[in-house]
Symmetry: C2
Subunit: 200 residues, 2 copies
Amino acid sequence: MQVIPPALERLIAELTRLPGIGKKTATRLALYVLRRPAAEALSLAESLAELHNSIQLCSRCFTFSEIDPCPICGDGRRNSRLVCVVEEPGDLMAIEKTAAFRGVYHILHGVLSPMEGIGPQELKIRELFARVSKGQVDEILLATSSTVPGEATASYLIDKLAGLDVKVTRLACGIPMGMDIKYADEYTLARAIDSRQLME
Amino acid sequence: MQVIPPALERLIAELTRLPGIGKKTATRLALYVLRRPAAEALSLAESLAELHNSIQLCSRCFTFSEIDPCPICGDGRRNSRLVCVVEEPGDLMAIEKTAAFRGVYHILHGVLSPMEGIGPQELKIRELFARVSKGQVDEILLATSSTVPGEATASYLIDKLAGLDVKVTRLACGIPMGMDIKYADEYTLARAIDSRQLME
């Protein structure tokens, strides 16, 4: 017996393709949308349909943007000679929220992962070297995640950038702010000890 | 500075209106949709736009359905004189999954909640009484949740149905299957003791 109407079933199947959304959550969301006025479903549908039309990649840093260059690359007050390398546009947004960085970005669109067939050619690495070799960059701040593939990607870039005339830095690793030391995992703690800083 | 493109911002705002989806999850989902091919976003958009067009309420039980009467009400092999009263179409789906119920349903579309201004007029209660007083029903199985508003709604219905010629039953409450008694909460345990069953 077809208990779930096909149109609802289809929406549930579509929602299940999103990350972190299982069958139960998808059903709950779809039923919620159905209970609300049709205008709300249409409004969400429109914003989904519009998304890829209005957004492209910035030709300099490769973040998602409606204009090219993106607002950050186009902002003359930012230091375009300091380039922060991140994995995804979401990382850029997280760093921008801190308001602690006044340089520009370079989005790799992924991390090296030989197991999944993602080598340097699949990422925006050639484009990064192009920016460096044009002499446009003084410092590269590597801000890939402190995960195994993130660290591997950073190591690869450190290696390849060694021959070029550019300073390479990496985000500091250590105890998160506000964390009790006895709850920090041993790897983070070991890293924090290795990277201990001299108080002056 | 506008770091998040407006089209992305709009999708994030739309997603945040869904239940259980905060700003962080909405951002993660929207960025995921943006990274995937445009066809996938369009397909999700279409199924959202189609939803309200193709689904209506069954005129007998008020569940969501593409046809009227719904497949359950229209199924001659089911006992249409045994009516299970539930809060939402999602509850009907959960009960159907058990394959333990061969009657039909009546969806209230909510629970009584005086604080939120939801009285009997806001629910499909008048329609339930219409079914009963037409002499179409032998037994009403109350399957509202065992929450405070669910119990209150059941009590209200038990009261009102008392004068009519219909048997009223309620889902059994007790220890969930597979649960160790020492982990059951005291209310459930007390209820299970009160409702203890004679073994024959």
